[in-house]
């Protein structure tokens, strides 16, 4: 458990630092005339303080087991791959367009994560990409990226 607390404490310390730096750039202002970054800055300081208390506690507390139980029995590929696909989707969306990217995203999710057959993954990928395009772009008039191919 201490090890997990160290990881999460470190994460929140880093995040609070990033928020504090960026909110300082926005302008903290004073108590009588708060700037746009006022709340964020002091919220970041509070989060940082809490995270440091968590970190300090993780070193001073007695050992309460390894804490590895939270991450046992996880198929890491089923976690890493969807995140990788979504990141690739975000990077390729404006270049390749919504339909192509969505087809590949659903195809890869079904084929590699859910182990569906080629035919099923392809069919569902095409149907979902065209269906969501029709629903959002044509019906709800959401402006989805067209990509270099124009769709």
């Amino acid at each position: 458990l201490q090890k997990l607390d160290r990881f999460s404490g470190l994460f929140w310390v880093i995040l609070s630092l990033v928020i504090a730096i960026h909110s300082h750039r926005l302008g903290v202002g004073s108590v009588s005339n708060p700037g746009p970054g006022f709340i964020f800055f002091y919220a970041a300081l509070f989060i940082g303080l809490m995270a440091m208390l968590l970190l300090a506690g993780s070193w001073t507390r007695k050992a309460e087991g390894s804490g590895g139980g939270h991450f046992e029995n996880i198929h890491w590929m089923k976690v890493v791959l969807p995140f990788a696909y979504i990141l690739l989707y975000a990077l390729a969306l404006e270049k390749a367009g919504f339909i192509i990217c969505t087809f590949f995203l659903i195809f890869l999710l079904l084929r590699t994560i859910e182990a569906k057959r080629w035919f099923v993954a392809t069919f569902v990928g095409i149907a979902a990409a065209l269906g969501t395009y029709a629903m959002f772009e044509l019906w709800l008039h959401v402006r989805l990226p067209k990509g270099v191919l124009g769709f």
Binding site: S30, V31, F38, H70, V79, Y89, L93, A128
Partner: protein, 138 residues
């Protein structure tokens, strides 16, 4: 907003059987569609890829938060109340010329602040008392 919520209620009540039927779709297909809907929702806010990257990042944070057993309720409360707190706190500080006494001098604010302090303090004292009870038993 109120009209929108009323319209949602009017539309959704007769459609409850349809929404229930959605749950009969196998989770493997449903999860892929949920991801796509989330991505479209994030992108359509500002037509900006950065929003998808933010979604990706907080998806990652959410995964680890679940594994680290963080309670989701305070997160949701903070997301809903955060912008309201920001506006109200700034307005109050400007009104009081930077004095925090405005939160204690007004009766409604003072009552709620007292309740908050009691709610924060009570678990601490209960824990301390239980600890003292265990020590005396030994």
């Amino acid at each position: 907003m109120y009209i929108g919520n009323v319209m949602l209620l009017v539309l959704n009540l007769p459609l409850i059987p349809v929404w229930v039927r959605v749950l009969k779709i196998p989770y493997s297909y449903l999860s892929a569609l949920i991801i796509v809907f989330c991505l479209i929702g994030a992108y359509s806010l500002n037509n900006n890829i950065t929003d998808i990257i933010v979604l990706w990042f907080f998806g990652l944070v959410g995964f680890f938060a679940k594994k680290f057993e963080y309670e989701p309720a305070p997160f949701v409360l903070a997301f809903v109340l955060g912008p309201m707190i920001e506006t109200a706190l700034r307005r109050s500080l400007i009104m009081s010329d930077g004095s925090f006494s405005i939160f204690f001098q007004r009766p409604i604010a003072a009552v709620f602040l007292s309740i908050t302090i009691v709610a924060l303090a009570v678990p601490f004292f209960i824990k301390k008392r239980i600890g003292a009870g265990l020590a005396s038993d030994e």
